[in-house]
Symmetry: C2
Subunit: 391 residues, 2 copies
């Protein structure tokens, strides 16, 4: 039990405010209410989102009450965190759709049946002017402007809309409403999380402990995983995609991925990393695929991957395309295959020697290829295939 | 009619935003809604308050609709204008009492039966969070911080509570709620008045015109008239007090008092000022006393004043004090008269030669004075009297 508390306080954690305080509560056996706020402005979860959700699952397994707070009200305003401009507000329908989708995906690591799910519209929408003035009164303007993002904006002569001052106020009040003992968030949420402490105190409550979590880099290895940078591994992707994308991460990220996304002990992780990088990465990919699908699917994805990339074999599910029997110039076939996004990419790929027919490389655009009853496999790059057969 | 519009736009007015615009509306004959906001944190009106009320009366006489807006909601927060700290909030009972008292006093220059009287608690208390965010969204933080008072505070490292940002927002929204065409205020209210324009525009309305009024200096001649500086002439004071206090203002203020507090034309004022200052001031005092009481009371106050101060006569209402028959040292009599605030003031006044018995100056502290059936009038300074008679 004590080991698990230590894990809880360390693994994937950047900072705890106040650590000694939280540790005392945990060791004392107090049942805590653990808050994670979700601004329902998007619905597709990726591995980056799972870092905090897995930490919630750790709390849950130790018997604490996890509270997923959907910012249904704040989502209508848009969190300005890290943005130059305010977000477009969402409609109620969009928010509800995103919530349902989020819960389905979070269910892959969290026991949703034991999770309290709340919406801040349920209390924020009911506040009147006097309530709001009391809330605003817990902050001074200087305290508000200290926020990094606001400082940055003022420095660059970009303005701050008054509405944006409300975001930390509302997020903080949410902690009052749900009586949070602990709030999780990314390091970029530090100001809002601290606002929760301040506002809970102003309302006569014990301030929550704050746990900021590591940021997960995306598959390209440098920037934070995000949908907009297209460096993400999506929670709902196929086992094959998840396995393959995990295999594509740079070696130096393996240690962090193991720590944040698997249950392997530090000792086991270190042993794996001491061996061949490819073996370690296969293990990582299998762990992650198992988490998001199951062992069987993970095993199959691994076999498949090894078949195609390690042994030079073909995947088992190549798409088939029918053509009228006859000879076609190579470029025509590549374009018809739709494996390239444009005609110019098709030309380039052929020029680069990245195009094979039945595992033989061709680099002439007008190379004549005969399509008949005998299937021909066209390969572009390492991972894209189409099988042509005569109609 | 045109002359009256010109008067309206000039007399006592510091600035109009936008003058050409307002003049056009007035000349076009549009019936306008004229707003004056009153923060009901005090109830004693003095001549300084009458400057704006008299301007409202001018609008009223031209057929426009005057709207007195009581900040019953804002009064609970306290307007931070020109204050280093926030005011203490008022109770509902205090606010209601102040409102009643205000209307009674304002009735001396304004026709209250034709005046629309409203309270901003009627709409502000009903706003919800979404309404308030919409309102806040009409301002950026930079625009808010531009306010002189906030700049001053930030410069001096005094903080601004978030609540204080709401005052201009609420005052501005009041102009939306009452559909104000014109708002009057002191020059120190300029930011809040301009907020009204901005917020009306944000709500799709034509922005109100703003009229800032001259600040009236108090009887001591330098600082703004105010109760706390004890340099005021109160609306509810006796005709004698009003007359006497007006006579005590420095000569250089006469022109401004005539302009802001009487209906005399500029031509008549200039003629008066070209004559003897004392005659001009008597006229001024009579005008002001007539406004606050009536012609008869003003005339009596003038007679009285001339009797005491100009002809060296005695006022008709000297307090009588009974003493046992016998001889008293002068100092004892002065102390018993309670015309001095302390024994040491009594000694000083006698030493200065400011003490007379029956119009004869005495400057010995132990001068024996016989009190018998024949009344003796003790005078300290110019205006304080007691009549002693034997019991």
């Amino acid at each position: 039990m004590n080991d698990k508390i230590e894990q809880l306080l360390i693994r994937g954690v950047v900072e705890i405010n106040i650590k000694a305080d939280l540790e005392k509560k945990l060791r004392f056996g107090k049942k805590l209410r653990i808050k994670l706020g979700i601004d329902p402005t998007g619905s597709d979860l990726h591995l980056g989102h799972l870092v905090a959700l897995r930490k919630l699952a750790e709390f849950q397994k130790l018997g604490h009450q996890v509270v997923l707070l959907f910012g249904t009200f704040t989502g209508k305003i848009g969190d300005p965190t890290g943005k130059d401009k305010m977000r477009q507000p969402l409609t109620d329908a969009e928010i509800n759709k995103n919530m349902q989708s989020y819960l389905e995906q979070a269910g892959k690591v969290l026991d949703i049946s034991k999770t309290e799910v709340v919406k801040n519209g349920d209390w924020l929408a009911k506040m009147n002017f006097e309530d709001i003035l009391k809330l605003a009164g817990s902050f001074t303007v200087s305290q508000m402007i200290q926020r990094d993002m606001f400082q940055e904006r003022l420095k660059n002569n970009r303005d701050i809309n008054m509405v944006e001052f409300f975001y930390p106020l509302m997020q903080g009040y949410d902690s009052v409403a749900i009586k949070a003992d602990v709030e999780l968030g990314g390091t970029d949420q530090l100001f809002n999380l601290m606002a929760g402490r301040k506002i809970q105190e102003a309302y006569g409550m014990t301030p929550q402990n704050i746990m900021t979590m590591s940021i997960l880099e995306g598959t390209s290895g440098v920037e934070k995983m995000s949908k907009s940078l297209d460096n993400y591994i999506g929670v709902m992707e196929s086992s094959k995609q998840i396995f393959g994308k995990t295999m594509s991460i740079p070696d130096h990220l393996m240690s962090k991925y193991f720590e944040l996304l698997t249950d392997l002990s530090r000792h086991d992780i270190d042993q794996l990393l001491a061996g061949h990088p490819r073996d370690a990465k296969l293990q990582l990919a299998e762990e992650i695929t198992t988490m998001l699908h199951d062992e069987k699917a993970a095993h199959k994805a691994r076999e498949e991957f090894l078949n195609v990339f390690a042994q030079g074999g073909l995947p088992s599910d190549i798409a088939e395309m029918k053509l009228a029997q006859g000879e076609y110039p190579l470029l025509d076939l590549v374009i018809k295959s739709e494996l390239c996004v444009s005609n110019s990419e098709a030309r380039r790929k052929i020029g680069e020697g990245a195009v094979k027919i039945d595992d033989i490389k061709y680099n002439q655009l007008d190379e004549p290829i005969l399509i008949n009853d005998d299937p021909k496999v066209l390969q572009v790059g390492k991972r894209k295939f189409v099988k042509f057969v005569a109609e």
